[in-house]
Amino acid sequence: MGTRREFVKSAMLPCLLAGGAGRWTQAAPLAGAEQQEEARFIVEAAFYEKQPYKKIRCKLCPRECVIDDRERGYCGVRENRGGVYYTLVHSRVCTAHVDPIEKKPFFHFLPGSQAFSIATAGCNVNCKMCQNWEISQARPEQVRATYLPPRQLAAAARENQCASIAYTYSEPVIYYEYMLDAAEAARAAGVKSAVVTGAYIHQDPLRKLCQRVDAVKVDLKAFSQKFYKEVVNGELKPVLDALVTLRKLGMWTEIVYLVVPTLNDSDQEFKALAAWIKSELGLDVPVHFTRFQPQYLLKNLPPTPLKTLERAKAVADAAGLHYVYVGNVPEHPAENTYCPKCRRAVVERAGFTIKALRLRKGKCQYCQQEIAGVWS
């Protein structure tokens, strides 16, 4: 199985996207036709406030960038033009692939189905371990992209027998307007929407988004503000607030915790995390403790030892969480889903493949315990 980075670089649908994703180009200066093409991607942004002297304050994420005329926010894909704020990446897809939903990973959402997975350039944080930094830390003009408006995106998902569209790879918060419109088009076409996000987003846009999407997987980078400040360049509390909101709105949610050796791998942190999830989200939120691979700005660290992942799982199991997984370790038994009551394996996996599904209408076929999730 290739790494996600290899996949992002190579996995393009030839019928949709030409060239490789995230490849730096020596583009010629834009001529008139190309300028018109650029204009297709530019749509007035949602969630911002106008300020004096043509400044704007972005209200999409807690960073709340204050942006002068002709400048962009931290994410690099939203720009102030004469006091009006625009997204530069509506329908501007730089990466697209058909993936098993388990790869996102969603283990309790439409198992065995395919997700039409897309991204634009940009991100509102800068995680030192980012697997997709070549697109997440890029500005849209720096990566090849194709115009894929919402209806075409939804149609492409259907044509490829995908049960869902996954907004992923970079950070879908920053392509919010596109994601919102795409989710609406997808719903009309009978395609679900699954969001893979760091959840560094304000409450209002989150609530609006939840009206249109069907599942959210949150990358909870750590359970310490120190890590969020030093490694992510973000904040922990807004992410936790977002998780609570997702629970309150009844949104299907899963959590990935990428375990980075020496930085967020203490028992103390695992215990605090597990206790918080139990208290604030409940026992049924799946948690994936996932192996880190050296990337981007953390190439000096080793991959996560398996013992560390198993230790994290043991802590979370001891806290009573029902669905705790070990991720990025193919064939590990903790990739399977076990009934929280009778402890039998109700979903067996090998990597991203479902080997066996022992559920009847969302219940354990052995003891009839309801297994939390969206199974169809």
């Binding site: 020596q26 583009a27 200066p29 043509k54 400048e71 926010g73 500005r139 360049n233 700005l297």
Partner: protein, 331 residues
């Protein structure tokens, strides 16, 4: 994140130190270290730079440029001054600052004057490249894009592209503009004299944000230590030979955007090799104007450019912000 191995200056310092230790022996006395040389900053002004109207007088601007460079390099001849900056055969990049469009960008007449003097110093037109972040920025400031290899080129990073491997120092990790890494052998930085709404001021140090692919990531924390760390990236440190700050029009509030009601005709150029000394000097000019206009200092606005001090600290040593070590020469 790992740092780039000790820069050349630190390396030489370490070697020099070890040689001194070796040579003293048991009975030798070490001589007192020489006082560090002052960083020279030349400020050249011309009250009649605009003649009767608002437009810059190209002839007077050329003379102003000559006066500043000759003073800085202590020569009588303009070509001799420019020969100190670049050798025949080298490709010289002129990193302009055009973000704000016409009004508070590097002015065309200044760039034309620089190009004229470079050619007279033996740099052919084909070896001069005017560059900035985006083609659209250049055009908005009045530059005409040009890619013909036989003439002076003028184009943005979006045309020339970026490296594919990261270059890192401290908090900065970026893909460098190929204009800097592959096209140019030497760079003359041509910032403008203006404040900045997030990082305080934007001049010589911050002008090199145009050499990286991700400047939007480095405007947090009032740009500190990011502006200093970006300037430490080896291609920048190794190739930028001089900064000529376009202070013909300066701005004390509302930057980086053009806010005409907050500009004033400073009618000057500020020249230095030391980007820290230049920025410190320019910052003082802006603060003085702000005080004249009854505006609060940048510190009171939570945007004091602390990155200037960081650029001068022991870890960076990009220059000096110590007034006692800056020689300001007004001509």
């Amino acid at each position: 994140m790992g740092r780039v191995f000790p820069n050349r200056r630190r390396f030489l310092g370490l070697v020099a130190g070890s040689l001194l230790t070796h040579s003293t022996g048991r009975n030798a006395r070490a001589s007192a270290p020489a006082a560090p040389a002052k960083s020279r900053v030349v400020i050249a002004r011309d009250a009649d730079l605009r003649g009767a109207g608002a437009a810059l007088d190209s002839g007077r601007l050329l003379k102003l440029l000559d006066r500043s460079l000759q003073s800085y390099f202590a020569t009588d001849s303009p070509p001799e001054a420019w020969k100190r900056l670049a050798r025949p055969g080298e490709v010289v990049g002129l990193k302009v600052n055009c973000l704000a469009g016409r009004g508070i960008s590097t002015s065309l007449p200044l760039v034309e004057a620089v190009c004229e003097r470079l050619q007279q110093a033996g740099i052919p037109a084909r070896n001069i490249v005017i560059w900035d972040r985006l083609n659209s920025d250049l055009e908005s400031a009045g530059f005409r894009l040009a890619t013909s290899p036989d003439r002076i080129r003028c184009l943005g990073n979006d045309a020339l592209g970026y490296e594919t491997e990261l270059t890192a120092y401290g908090s900065a990790a970026s893909l460098m503009a190929r204009a800097l890494t592959e096209v140019c052998d030497a760079v003359i930085s041509l910032p403008v004299l203006k404040d900045h709404g997030i990082v305080g001021v934007t001049m010589a140090l911050k002008n090199m944000f145009g050499a990286i692919h991700n400047p939007n990531k480095y405007h947090v924390a009032v740009g500190n230590p990011y502006v200093a760390d970006v300037y430490m990236l080896p291609p920048i440190r190794q190739k930028v030979r001089l900064a000529i700050c376009d202070a013909t029009t300066a701005q004390y509030e509302g930057g980086p955007s053009y806010m005409p009601h907050w500009t004033w005709p400073y009618n000057g150029l500020i020249v230095a090799r030391d980007p820290v000394a230049l920025d410190h000097t320019g910052w003082r000019i802006i603060e003085k104007k702000r005080a004249e206009k009854g505006m609060k200092p940048l510190r009171a606005m939570q945007r004091e450019p602390a990155y200037i001090a960081t650029a001068a600290d022991a870890a960076h040593r990009l220059g000096t912000n110590d007034p006692a070590r800056i020689q300001v020469i007004e001509v």
